[in-house]
Symmetry: C2
Subunit: 527 residues, 2 copies
Amino acid sequence: MTIRGSVLIGAADVTTAALFRAVDPATGAPLEPAFSAAGPREVEAACALAEAAFPHFAETTPETRARCLEAVADGIADLGAPLVERAMAETGLPRARLEGERARTVGQLRLFADLVRSGAWIRATIDPAQHKRQPLPRPDLRRRHVAIGPVAVFGASNFPLAFSVAGGDTAAALAAGCPVVVKGHPAHPGTGELVARAVRAAVATGGLPEGTFSYLPGPSTDLGSALVADPRIKGVGFTGSRAGGLALMRVAAGRPEPIPVYAEMSAVNPVVLLPGALRARSASLAAGFVQSLTLGAGQFCTNPGLLIGIAGSDLDAFAEAAAAAIRESVPHTMLTPDIRDRFAHAVAALAARPGVTVAARGAAAGPGGSPACLLRTEARHVLADPALADEMFGPAALLVAAADMAEVTRLLESLGGQLTATLHLDRADEHLAAGLVPLLARKAGRILANGWPTGVEVAPAMVHGGPFPATSDGRSSSVGTLAIERFLRPVCYQDLPDALLPPPLRPDNPWHLARRIDGVLDPQPGR
Amino acid sequence: MTIRGSVLIGAADVTTAALFRAVDPATGAPLEPAFSAAGPREVEAACALAEAAFPHFAETTPETRARCLEAVADGIADLGAPLVERAMAETGLPRARLEGERARTVGQLRLFADLVRSGAWIRATIDPAQHKRQPLPRPDLRRRHVAIGPVAVFGASNFPLAFSVAGGDTAAALAAGCPVVVKGHPAHPGTGELVARAVRAAVATGGLPEGTFSYLPGPSTDLGSALVADPRIKGVGFTGSRAGGLALMRVAAGRPEPIPVYAEMSAVNPVVLLPGALRARSASLAAGFVQSLTLGAGQFCTNPGLLIGIAGSDLDAFAEAAAAAIRESVPHTMLTPDIRDRFAHAVAALAARPGVTVAARGAAAGPGGSPACLLRTEARHVLADPALADEMFGPAALLVAAADMAEVTRLLESLGGQLTATLHLDRADEHLAAGLVPLLARKAGRILANGWPTGVEVAPAMVHGGPFPATSDGRSSSVGTLAIERFLRPVCYQDLPDALLPPPLRPDNPWHLARRIDGVLDPQPGR
């Protein structure tokens, strides 16, 4: 596969007159080649093909879709070192991280292939007729879940593979039977195109309609708005900034037909250091914290950006150890010059607030990098000005000293929705933790104990989501098998002749699904 | 229980200076007593109590919530004939219909009690730790679904019991663990207050916090908007007009924290009469159709308002038989003078459109009633002006003659989202029907064969919902056990000590739930 700088509309490579280039974030130098930016014409063409593909693609068998997902996984793996090297050049992320992310992306596609095959997502439910029921007979009712329609997916800057062209949203949407139109992130267009070509090849090999997948790269926010506004798009997956997510939510809500937007936007992922844990292991907590904070230059939505402890010598010891580790930390190149500049601005603005001090800064960085930073304040300042707890996307955190547990609780209550919330505790802290867990469960999608929130396992029990403004829709997860439900809706069939029922609901159960019959799950359908 | 005309804020009866009265729709005469209309102060008080109740109510055991729902059911049944008679006076609906609706409402509450006890809605999912996994260990991950927060429920005019104060949305929200603030429909305030008192008594008997339930009657749309705008409300259930639903969607989307709105709004519920069925049984089809159309004066969201067949003598025979039945039909009192007037206006407007003729009208009605009406046109007119297929809320339908099956398909494709879509077919029609079922599944939440869409079974497989504009959110159902998912969100617990886990996720499984462990359902946990 070579990078040709094209827009991919179904099976066609399209070029446009509007060109843009990726930039090496370490040097600011533009990278070859130039890429065609998609515009309204390409949105129109991709959406028309997606709509045309939908009726067929939505009704393909689980096996057909599972094989397609596996072919995408194989195709990405087969891209080999050139994919990783292009991603390194475009994002400044190191090789090992990108190799790990590639493994995660491929594994995620295979997980969704297994999920599609299981048929669990169909949720086949049958309430057989009761012809003799009084006062009225009960009809035969059969429910399944089906694809919602073509889906727009927005790639994220910080995961050029796992949350981008063939990331979690694309895998979940394809698994559900939804054609996907990807709005490619302009910071990694070469990486995006390589992956998009792998998806397209899998669509072709599987004999699927070309409109099953299209790829629209481009730097303009108008492109994304036009895609979300297109009447043929029925759902949106987005990972990015709060401003970007809110803008797409407004577009979606303002359409003649509003559609769901699953936007994962921002979080500071509060971490509470309980007294016993601080007393027992402030040094190892500080080491773990700084490692999590600076991982990937802090450019994770689960970055631990807000630490909370009760003021005292144990918290001071933690702060000193963390400050020492921050000063030792090696600056990494950030994803884009724009992200680097916004991060520097956010840190400077926070440092200038009354009551906030800079506890430590990392070594000065090269032109593309940013030093890590630990800031410190007291809880009363955050309670007075909640903006102190806003996300700074990068390797910076605010350490907050509270007067007592009551103030810790008030501080947590004052926060908006979060992706994660973490408690560090010793056995002696359990009674304190027990009072906080229910509160944290109202604030976040994932609660951790004695760990760090970076690192999101791709698994059935994972929830990567949370109440607004962490996401646009806290009823959902963007990681793990639960994500398929974003792109499904229920349909009930009443008294249909057997020959007209879709396979999952037929009496002979040709797909051998576990089905819920009269409210009871039949988990072992005969094969 | 007596009707006192109060607003019910938790345990308190509140009166206000703004009074309104119900009206006997048969005569237009006001009914005693006067009712206090809730305003901003009552919204504030009810939402404050609901928020205060939420942490406790959300974590009550399944048994506690199931008993509360059963106590509500018992309380409604115990209201006896006075409830039915008040509802008759306020809605003009006949006794048998209201007794049936009461049975449905009580049964629905008991169904949700059973559902809560089953714990299936918790969806307990456990991925145990893999400490030795390479390259990184897997943490222990445990997911459950929890209540989203206080919910606002809007009662509907046409089901004063089953879709009102203690209707499906209230039952589902209470089952999920969400406190409920009901905005009572102003057309049946006495009925609403009686039921609200039964809910409040059940809350008190169950030892639940008073803010678990409040009841805000009032005629003003500002009241509903204020309730949806309140930051403590986290979700909305609504059944009513498209204009009303769209207005609430706008309020919810415009909040600093947008929230989900489940609005069930409008549908014409297309019915396709396939050629073989028309040839074999046009007379019985006509009888069944007119019975469904005129049931409850046509005031059902599933009313069959659009019939489609291929032009010819069989369709003419159907039309003649239907027209005869329409002319024989007895007019019923409509729910409110306003609904009657809007219905008359909608029928007159449709009859005045080019290409539309009135095939038959029922006998003239008394002051509160409206004659049924069958209108007729050709498919090309509907294709040219989609507004011909807009809902007329009442006993009127448009019969559309299509030139051929291709035109039937085009007509169906042109329709917006629907609650239901129906096919009448003979065995010889199955090949035609097979081509339509997938299209109908994209348009509607429920597909019927050889039946009529009025009559919505309360069952696990039911879907009462559908793509916009039938509802605001086609991923959901307002009837049946699926409705509980409207009011739930997932939370993941990572590496929590056993003592800090909520009961559904503890290793000892104290609630004896069927849990999915490492992707496999363990359906028979030891008791």
